[in-house]
């Protein structure tokens, strides 16, 4: 009873401090978190492990710290009692799951910055529990349990960091859940954000910790390595996130964005070996390139030549397919697809390959536009297919392409039904100037927003680099060098002096 009153009073003490200056508020939250960590270490909190009414006394939106710590203890207790990582109480719709869902949908983003580790463990648990439920029920139903986890993880991530500028382990968890749930648009609020940072270690250990609750220009100030909002990230996690992200965009047929994400994976710098994830991404890159641009897209220019060679040897059937597609021979294309059916199937790219065949017609028509200004439907039918295809079949297909804006052209019908319609590639009936200007204006607005985000985050990166150990060491060396330059009779620019000194050191 005493402990409960202590907790209530400690929590109430924090309520009365949110009007205080940020450094004072920062001190009080740190004290509260320390207090709970001590209670956890001394196992004092375990007295509430089975007390269901405890959490009813706290509102997660106001008392996020006590709620989170006690909820974690209750979850651990249930796991110990059941000798199961995901017992019924923790699985979707279980008692503790409902508590966790309530917390993740309403916690105070500022308070939780101080309990990043506990927050992350809860997010991971929710995600993994929904995956476990999915595995258990797969045989009896196709209920999308991962959707429950995905929604909670997404909301929790955006609540903690609305800018989404810092890459965390939760990013990968979310995209994986969305793919499993087939709830692709659920990942978009996070996928569409610009990632600018990894969680970093700020300053030297001896330096004062930053005021986490203050208004920071960029979330990298509080999403630090020390906060443990992310588990350790490996290059593999990073590659997987962008590959899975690309797959989400593919499912939504946003080919341009998918190419961007895959481009990040395949151009990852490597020194010797190439990751299989990168090879897998390259295979998809070839197919998505055909779907978006109708040609084999070269990897981004920053990709190292030896990596490109590895791709070309490991993704040979894909490159052959792309070349056949570019040559515009449907018969050969179908033959190539049939010949390597096992490869597409093993790589789980059958769906994409099928879509490549489907866009063959539209890409062929688009290419014709580079040669002809206009064509009748009858002529077009002869051009696009070696077998005699009726103009009545081609007409609706072309009309559908133009109406979906996949083809920039117009149709001119004539009075006579028997007379073939005309397809005009260079049209006098172009959209009014206003339409282009509106498009341009919208693009400029988007670019401006992106630039603003980048400028803020670049400033923050610059600041953090300035505080890093490496920079301070190099600055120190620089001072030594510039000191020695005072006795250098040759003088000259600083950069050149550094080079001379470096050579001197070597000798």
């Amino acid at each position: 009873m005493t402990l409960l009153s202590d907790i209530i009073s400690a929590s109430a003490h924090l309520h009365s401090s949110n009007h205080l200056p940020s450094d004072e508020y920062d001190r009080r939250i740190r004290e509260l978190v320390e207090y709970f960590r001590r209670l956890q270490t001394t196992k004092a909190l375990e007295s509430f492990a089975n007390d269901e009414s405890f959490l009813d006394r706290f509102d997660p939106a106001i008392d996020s710290i006590p709620f989170l710590f006690v909820l974690r203890v209750q979850i651990q207790k249930v796991q110990e009692q059941n000798a199961d990582l995901f017992p019924a109480d923790i699985r979707p719709s279980g008692k503790l799951w409902t508590r966790a869902a309530h917390f993740l949908a309403s916690f105070d983003g500022v308070q939780v910055r101080y309990a990043g580790r506990e927050w992350r463990l809860l997010v991971e648990l929710v995600g993994q529990a929904s995956q476990a439920a999915s595995t258990a029920s797969r045989l009896v139903s196709n209920i999308s349990w991962p959707l429950l986890g995905a929604t909670l993880v997404k909301d929790a991530m955006l609540r903690l960091d609305p800018s989404g500028a810092v890459f965390t382990s939760s990013h990968l968890l979310l995209v994986r859940l969305c793919l499993q749930a087939k709830a692709y648009s659920c990942a978009l609020p996070v996928l569409n954000k610009q990632i600018c940072h990894f969680p970093i270690s700020l300053g030297r250990p001896s330096s004062e910790p930053s005021v986490l609750c203050a208004d920071h220009g960029s979330s990298v100030s509080f999403m630090t390595e020390a906060s443990e909002v992310s588990s350790k990230i490996s290059y593999r996690d990073y590659l997987q996130y962008f590959l899975y992200g690309g797959m989400v965009y593919m499912a939504l047929k946003e080919w341009r964005k998918a190419l961007h994400f895959l481009g990040i994976v395949i151009s990852m710098p490597t020194t010797s070996s190439v990751s299989l994830i990168m090879v897998e991404a390259y295979k998809k890159w070839v197919l998505v390139g055909l779907l978006e641009k109708g040609k084999l897209c070269p990897p981004p220019s920053i990709t190292t030549p030896h990596v490109v060679k590895v791709y070309q040897s490991l993704a040979r059937p894909y490159i052959i397919l792309a070349h056949t597609f570019e040559r515009g021979d449907l018969k050969k294309l179908n033959a190539e697809i049939d010949a390597a059916m096992g490869v597409w199937s093993a790589d789980k790219n059958l769906g994409l390959v099928a879509q490549v065949v489907a866009v063959f017609f539209s890409q062929t028509v688009i290419k014709l536009g580079k040669t002809f200004a206009a064509l009748t439907m009858a002529d077009l039918s002869k051009q696009v297919s070696p077998s005699p295809v009726c103009a009545e079949v081609t007409g609706p297909a072309v009309s559908s392409l133009i109406m979906s804006r996949a083809l920039n052209a117009t149709l001119v019908q004539t009075k006579d039904h028997a007379e073939s319609s005309m397809l005009r590639f260079s049209s006098i009936h172009s959209l009014p100037r206003l339409s282009h200007e509106l498009d341009l204006q919208s693009q400029l607005k988007q670019e401006m927003k992106l630039m603003e985000t980048l400028v803020i985050n670049l400033g923050e990166t610059n600041n953090n680099l300035g505080l890093s150990d490496e920079y301070v060491d190099s600055l120190h060396k620089g001072q030594v060098w510039s000191g020695s330059s005072e006795v250098n009779p040759t003088g000259g620019e600083t950069g050149l002096e550094m080079d001379e000194d470096l050579m001197g050191d070597m000798s």
Binding site: S93, L147, A183, M403, H429
Partner: protein, 221 residues
């Protein structure tokens, strides 16, 4: 804010409301979690006939709202998240699949036929009407940009108007297009569309398109 429980009344109210499609989508997205739990009987009750009706109504509404917000790919993904037993035997959800096929293959005449001809539950009628209007507006814009000259009957098929009346050059059918600023040449018997411009900053919603129509001072059908 706590979400009220998913009930037939709650859902009917939401569907019948005149809320913008994006808001409807947001609200129904939040209810999908509850629907998921109801489908497995994890809401504390065993899934019964009432639940099947509720789930059918929920998933059909959610599907139509996907189309209303022009998210065809995501609508297709939704059909993979619907409990299989429900999807296979529920007539309303079967209608949704037929509609999806028609929209996916851009078979305009088929879309109108599904929306007007198939038996949809009364509670879904407000959404069906809204989607029909949205689809008509969207197609009108697309046709205006895609054709320099179009036969009246072809335009009528795209817009879901009576093709036979169009063949007879019915003045009411012609009026639907001339109201939008299109020119009708009675000699060549062709319509000359005037391209309709929609601001790209506006989301592709029926609301946005209606605004564009209002700006032009016209509206088809």
């Amino acid at each position: 804010m706590e979400l009220p429980p998913l009930t037939m009344e709650q859902l009917s109210q939401l569907v019948a409301s005149n809320a913008p499609p994006s808001q409807l989508f947001e609200a129904l997205s939040r209810y999908e979690l509850q629907a998921c739990l109801i489908a497995t009987g994890s809401n504390g009750l065993t899934a019964g006939a009432d639940d099947s009706t509720l789930l059918s109504m929920f998933y059909s509404s959610f599907f139509l709202v996907h189309l209303l917000t022009d998210q065809v790919s995501e609508a297709r993904a939704l059909t993979k998240r619907i409990p299989e037993a429900l999807l296979q035997y529920d007539p309303s959800l079967q209608n949704c699949l037929t509609l999806l096929r028609a929209v996916w293959q851009t078979q305009h005449a088929q879309v109108y036929q599904v929306l007007r001809g198939l038996p949809w539950p009364d509670a879904l009628q407000p959404l069906i009407r809204r989607y029909e209007s949205f689809f008509q507006d969207k197609t009108l814009i697309a046709v205006s940009r895609s054709y320099e000259a179009i036969r009246l009957a072809t335009a009528a098929v795209h817009l879901g108007l009576d093709e036979q009346l169009a063949e007879k050059e019915d003045p009411n059918v012609i009026l639907n297009f001339t109201k939008c600023g299109w020119a009708w040449d009675s000699e060549s018997k062709l319509l000359y569309p005037k391209p309709i411009v929609v601001s790209p900053t506006e989301p592709q919603s029926s609301n946005g398109i209606r605004k564009a129509m209002a700006m032009l001072g016209t509206r088809a059908c």
